[in-house]
């Protein structure tokens, strides 16, 4: 069977170079980087070498890179760490409405400390406008966090302008670069951000390693204390193998990014052009002009996202969806809803994230399979039946409006 892997946002294949860099530290080089004896020498050199490679990828100084275990941890460290270190100055945090849950959810837990959150709305493309950000900042705002790019809809934010707005109010600016790094060139100095999150997986490195760039002089309260690793910013023995793999992957990605980006951009363009020729009633979401390479997000009307994913999987195609049924939380994508898409259409979302190894054959396979899958599901769909009868497919009868939280409470009956 042909395969097509379009879910690089969930996991990306490991670069062979990264795997090779990891192997010694899964074998004989088991030492602890902090050890004084010689068993610590190579692990320590590997961690520091990787720090230089990871720093070079985003034009940072090596000392400004803190290694963590995941992008979620980096986001937690940035948001909680910066907020807690500045709580004497104020308790308000401003974020975009489309942040990753590891930013949004952590903010809720910060409520315990008396922090309150202001969400900046996005436009229909998922773009945060600098003037909207400026309007959201209050006198007691102490941190702004807006992601560099969004994995669900592909939109790239004007991070440099947004950071400048925060700095005008003397407020530090964090950005989650998970969806941007490995797809577009990133220069943390040029963007003038104070903190920046990115995982090894974004550059075809291993799971279990990520970075938080912290501009020199940025104060931060550590979340894990009890050791002096990472310059007291994150205690705990380093995952040397994962970090070594991250370093190697970052170096390879830095040298090959232009060619990979060009290939991913071209493949996504094929879908933007060819899918509408094969399938009616589809709506592409996210910005078309400021978009990460290799990203397609589309609403396939009148069919539900999870049903599409299962059918695509039967054809060897891996993709993702923002529908409530495909999410463990059973909530429709907060990103699509924030962009003003109604629940009814968010349920029909399909997200493709390509990678450096994606091919024309993968794209052709997808373009061949999605239309018949959609036709089959539409034949079953009462919404499509309404459309064919000339009725409003999305009509909701009075008294039947549904809050998805209520409707989808886990029912153990």
């Amino acid at each position: 069977m042909r395969f097509g892997y379009f879910d690089h946002a969930a996991a990306a294949p490991l670069l062979p170079e990264a795997k090779e860099a990891m192997m010694p530290f899964l074998g004989d080089e088991f030492g602890n980087p902090v050890s004084l004896h010689h068993f610590g020498d190579k692990p320590r050199a590997a961690v520091e070498g990787a720090r230089a490679q990871v720093a070079a990828l985003v034009n940072s100084r090596p000392d400004d890179i803190v290694f963590t275990a995941s992008a979620s941890e980096s986001n937690n460290l940035a948001v909680k760490g910066l907020a807690l270190s500045r709580k004497a100055k104020g308790r308000n945090i401003v974020v975009s409405a489309i942040e990753h849950v590891s930013v949004l959810e952590k903010l809720k837990s910060l409520g315990v400390y008396g922090f309150d959150i202001t969400e900046v709305p996005v436009d229909a493309d998922g773009t945060v406008h600098p003037d909207k950000l400026a309007a959201a900042i209050k006198t007691d705002t102490i941190l702004v966090s807006v992601m560099h790019a969004n994995y669900e809809v592909g939109t790239i934010q004007k991070v440099k302008e947004l950071a400048a707005v925060a700095h005008r109010f003397r407020i530090p600016f964090h950005s989650d670069g998970t969806a941007a790094v490995g797809r577009i060139p990133v220069d943390v100095v040029g963007l003038d951000v104070d903190a920046y999150t990115f995982p090894a997986m974004s550059v075809y490195g291993p799971k279990g390693a990520a970075a938080l760039y912290l501009k020199r002089g940025t104060r931060l309260q550590p979340l894990i204390e009890g050791g002096f690793q990472e310059k007291n910013r994150r205690a705990g023995t380093e995952d040397v193998a994962a970090i070594a793999g991250f370093g190697s992957a970052a170096a390879v990605t830095k040298s090959r990014l232009p060619e990979w980006s060009e290939s991913m951009t071209r493949l996504a363009q094929r879908i933007f052009k060819e899918l509408p020729e094969k399938l009616e009633h589809i709506i592409f979401t996210g910005s078309m002009s400021s978009r990460i390479p290799g990203h397609v997000s589309v609403v396939v009307e009148f069919v539900e996202g999870e049903a599409m994913l299962l059918s695509l999987d039967d054809e060897g195609i891996a993709a993702a969806s923002g529908s409530s049924c495909s999410a463990k939380t059973l909530k429709a994508s907060h990103v699509l809803l924030a962009m003003g898409l109604p629940h009814t259409k968010a349920q029909s979302s399909l997200v493709l994230t390509m990678g450096k190894d994606s091919t024309d054959e993968d794209v052709s396979h997808f373009l061949d399979k999605l239309p018949p899958i959609t036709r089959r599901l539409r034949q079953m769909s009462p919404l499509y039946a309404r459309l064919q009868k000339g009725e409003d497919p999305y009509a909701v009868k009075p008294g039947e409006a549904c809050e998805d939280e209520q409707e989808h409470e886990t029912d153990e009956r």
């Binding site: 009148f302 996202g305 299962l310 079953m380 497919p393 009868k397 409006a401 153990e412």
Partner: protein
């Protein structure tokens, strides 16, 4: 994630479609919730001679609809009304806990279709008859004024 039986019903759902001049139609859910099921029943001498459905929803919702239609077909009204959500989930070899609400929808939509048939059965047109589509009172005419649907046959 899903049992083989769920996947089999999802891939090859039984009884998809609509029944013209159905004796009862039951609709549950709406597009906002992510699931919507419409069941159609044909009833002769108290027996469900035909059951069809249309479903907008996830894999579990489609498999549940298919299973409910298969379980109900050929049953008496009484038997069909006894089909429970737990029965449907059991017949499907279980459902993930966060998908159990889908099995509720399936049996509920079937029961709603049967109830609609029972509600209009007297067909005498006496006062108190309500449009099965929008619940508005229907008097005299067989067309419901508020929603323009066929209120009774």
């Amino acid at each position: 994630m899903y049992s083989e039986k769920v996947m089999e019903h999802f891939r090859n759902p039984r009884n998809v479609g609509e029944i013209e001049n159905a004796d009862g139609v039951g609709e549950i859910g709406n597009p906002t919730c992510g699931d919507m099921m419409t069941f159609y029943v044909k009833i002769e001498n108290g027996i469900l001679t035909d059951v069809k459905f249309k479903t907008f929803g996830c894999g579990a919702a489609i498999a549940v609809s298919s299973m409910v239609s298969e379980m109900a077909k050929g049953k008496t009204i009484e038997e069909a009304m006894k089909i429970s959500n737990a029965d449907v989930a059991k017949e499907l070899g279980g459902l993930p806990p966060n998908k159990l609400h889908c099995s509720n929808l399936g049996a509920d939509a079937l029961h709603k279709a049967i109830e609609q048939h029972l509600a209009k059965k007297p067909a005498t047109g006496e006062k108190g008859c309500h449009c099965p589509f929008c619940d508005a009172p229907v008097e005299g005419s067989s067309i419901c004024a508020p929603c323009k649907n066929q209120g009774r046959k």
